[in-house]
């Protein structure tokens, strides 16, 4: 299904490319030993290198390089065994050295692809042009003082991966799917925490429009969009703005724009004429980055299962539905809990139901994260969970009882308490007891039995309910049904 905007002059197609900036998960900055934790006191995580003191020199953080390579492998991308760091020169108060160290001509990762899946189930391959490592800048705070700006250098020098897509994206939906899938890949790889509110992941969106069959028209770049929803909205409003200009006989100017989500519009930040001349040149303080073949191969073989592979396996090998596979895989912590349950020998479909049902409710109720399920209280909650679920498999308790026990079991309950609760709800599977209860109930409801036999089959549910009531809810529902059916002929 192609996405088309109908203009006055006919249909328009949109062309989008994304530059995603992803903060690398690493204890220290790209070229200094300073810490990177979010939310620290301003200027408390700044080394002399980050503040660009005289004579200070950058030393490349090996872990950041490993993270970039891992991400590249996760994007099925070419890893460049030799890459280089360049200086991007410009003056700004939150850029202490007057240049950002980035990779301009020779990025560490070359071409790759991300497969996206759309709502209608169709898939598309979106090309990744490159991934490179660069430093983040500090933060300017303009709202702390009437005439002065405050500078926080905690973020200055933090490692970023810039992941540039090909202009392969043709709709807001595709853009959203691309960002979500890219984010998920990095979450699984643990190379970026994907936290868009904290700015760990942000996107520059390049948008242009064209008539079918045309080559590219002038594009505008929308800077620093910080949610998937805003990416989609920004593309839509920017495309409409451009179409309006073209259809009015005007020309779209190449420029950098900002998206204002409150007003639902983009506005000009700077035009091409004001564009900086960044005077890129190789950073003479750093040698070319040469990767060791065996090191990269080691990371390749240690690469974990990526979301697309996981979804496929859940569906084809484990028999989960498309919905179940997507919902579980969309949250790496859910997937981890799901797989932990599988490891205990429980059946996949049953585990998926539990993860998406009662365990999700439990997680909300307890205000914990899914990731804690397998390990909280030394794993004792997880053992309780599997004990309860196994009781359903062995027919000891009903599905309703499983939910009830899980919801009412404190996270730190001892196993003895859980076993007592199971015992309490253990269902009666003794056929003779069930037959007795059924017979008693049928005798007590002779008129209704007549009614049923005359064709009011809806009464079957009533009979089941009466038997269960008589048995205090412990009758094995399967057996109760069976006996009732037999008796009612």
């Amino acid at each position: 299904m192609s996405y088309i905007i109908e203009g006055r002059t006919g249909p328009w197609e949109i062309v989008v490319g994304l530059e995603v900036h992803a903060q690398v998960i690493s204890n220290s900055k790209l070229f200094s030993g300073a810490a990177t934790a979010f939310g620290a006191e301003p200027n408390s995580q700044v080394s002399f290198v980050d503040a660009a003191f005289p004579g200070m020199l950058p030393v490349l953080n090996r872990e950041a390089v490993a993270q970039a390579v891992r991400t590249g492998l996760g994007l099925n991308a070419h890893i460049n065994m030799v890459s280089r760091f360049d200086r991007k020169n410009y003056f700004y108060a939150d850029l202490p050295s007057g240049y950002q160290i980035s990779q301009y001509e020779h990025p560490i990762v070359g071409a790759g692809t991300i497969e996206i899946t759309l709502a209608d189930g169709s898939t598309r391959q979106i090309g990744v042009t490159r991934l490179h490592l660069e430093q983040d800048a500090g933060k300017s705070l303009h709202d702390q003082h009437p005439t002065k700006s405050y500078i926080d250098l905690n973020r200055a020098g933090v490692a970023l991966m810039e992941i540039v897509s090909e202009p392969d994206i043709r709709s807001p939906e595709e853009a959203g799917a691309y960002v979500r899938e890219l984010r998920l890949i990095m979450l699984y790889l643990r190379t970026c925490d994907g936290n868009m509110e904290e700015g760990s992941l942000r996107a520059d969106v390049n948008v242009s429009v064209r008539k079918h069959g045309e080559s590219y028209r002038t594009r505008c770049e929308i800077k620093n969009v910080n949610s998937v929803r805003f990416v989609m909205q920004a593309i839509e409003v920017e495309a409409l703005r451009q179409i309006e200009i073209w259809e009015a006989g005007g020309t779209v100017q190449q420029e950098t724009r900002l998206f204002d989500p409150n007003r639902g519009e983009t506005r000009s930040m700077r035009s091409k004429e004001d564009a900086h001349d960044y005077r890129y040149f190789p950073d003479p303080d750093l040698l070319p980055l040469v990767l060791d073949e065996a090191w990269v191969d080691g990371m390749k073989s240690a690469l974990i299962e990526l979301p697309a592979m996981k979804r496929a396996r859940y569906k084809t090998e484990l028999g989960l539905s498309n919905y179940e596979a997507w919902t579980i895989v969309d949250d790496p912590e859910k997937a981890a809990t799901f797989e932990a349950l599988l490891m205990t020998g429980l059946e996949a479909k049953f585990c998926a139901n539990a993860v998406l049902g009662v365990i999700s409710r439990k997680v909300n109720e307890e205000s914990i994260t899914f990731g804690l399920i397998p390990t909280i209280h030394g794993g004792s909650f997880f053992s309780n969970l599997t004990e309860i679920m196994r009781a359903q498999v062995t027919n000891a308790i009903s599905a309703n009882s499983v939910s009830a026990i899980i919801m009412s079991t404190p996270l730190d309950a001892p196993i003895s308490q859980v076993r007592a609760m199971i015992k309490e709800r253990e269902q009666v599977s003794d056929t003779s007891a069930i037959e007795a209860a059924v017979d008693a109930m049928l005798a007590a409801n002779a008129a209704k039995v007549e009614d049923y036999r005359a064709g009011n089959v809806k009464l079957f549910g009533f009979f089941v309910g009466q038997v269960m009531k008589a048995m205090a809810g412990k009758g094995n529902p399967g057996l109760v049904n069976e006996v009732l059916k037999a008796r009612l002929g």
Binding site: F53, P54, G55, G98, Y99, S149, D277, R279, F281, D285
Partner: protein, 492 residues
Amino acid sequence: MFDLTLAQARDGLRKRDFSARELTDAYLGAVAALNPKLNAYLLVTEAQARAQADAADAALARGEAANLTGIPLAIKDLFCTKGVRTTAGSRILEHFVPPYESTVTANLLRDGAVFLGKVNLDEFAMGSSNMTSAYGPVANPWTRRGDNRPLVPGGSSGGSAAAVAARLALGATATDTGGSIRQPAAFCGIAGIKPTYGRCSRWGIVAFASSLDQAGPIARTVEDCAIMLRSMAGFDPKDSTSADLAVPDYQAACHRSVKGLRIGVPKEYRSEGMAPEIEAMWQQGLAWLRDQGADIVDVSLPHTKYALPAYYIVAPAEASSNLARYDGVRFSSRTDGGDLTELYENSRAAGFGAEVQRRVLIGTYVLSAGYYDAYYIRAQKIRALILKDFTDVFRTVDALVTPTAPSAAFGQGEKMDDPVTMYLNDVFTGPANMSGIPGLSVPAGLDSQGLPLGLQVLGKPFDEETVFAVGAAIERASGFSALPGIRAGVAA
């Protein structure tokens, strides 16, 4: 006491002929007496020096003498020294007190050295005369025979060279980006070596041009340089361009014979218009080596003539970026403005001198879109060819010998009309920076006006030992013993 070389003073200290405190006090006294004439020291750290000397005496008394225990040195004011103001010769760092110690000076302190103070230099090490310092020019302790007008000590390490030549220190740290150790050493009649790029850590040295900058010693003799370099050099994980190689015993290398060594004479250095006295000195140096059993062979470095123009693209390009951090926002001097851009403009206009501004402008220009390929990329290609020239000749020779500079020291204020004339001072020294190879200047004799002339020895990458051996051989043969008029220990 001032007649002692660093090696002799070290022996004297170890034999307890005199104490480190006596030695330091003597040098501090000489500095106080002569510095007003020379302006070599920008800052004398008397109290710190005496404390270091006392610590050295204690170490000597315990029999724990390290390589430089008790040796008073001068530190070029480009090396960041913890708690001691470091200006880089610039107004913009007038009030900068580093909270860290550069690796090279930390290595010297580790080995027991005493720091007398910080010495003058061309602003941000940009210059060949010490005339660009924001803190006034340095006078060369040498003057022309019968002419008292002050001469330049060379640059950029002019304060280092003047201090050592006038015996206001036993040795000095220096840096060399295009000749800034070797040319002032030659102008002041002493020795200096720029080791191979990567031999000394650049960490904590105010950067001029990162791919060319290299620290090294200036001292009275080749052997003294060898002793100092042993302490200064070494791998530093904080400098990504530092070489992870063991540091050899350079002092021992000074006593190696040059017999059988092949010494190359690059024909391209014999430029038209070379001063006859320089040419004669060069021939004399080669003759001394031949007499000691070396083979002298003519070689060609065909891309030499492109080295200087390429150098004056690469160095300003890197400088323009390296100096961007002096923006008035943090440690550098600030001149306020109406907005951020004005703050930058005002601070940098007030803080940088004319030569620094010129090089920042040149560097910005050659890196600009549309000019980058024509200038910077071509300069880097030339650089590769220059390195190839050296790699090729070092397949057949062990070292090269050339003049250090195209002239002896010139007068303060001379060669100032046209920057290109000044830049020509680097013509023989620049190629070593462009290729990273080690180069040493050794005094070889006096010209007709009584000014010292130096010869340069160039060697293979990380083969400073051969460079020291050849330099020491020239030094022995020359018997150079002339002394400047202004020096400690003589009545003014």
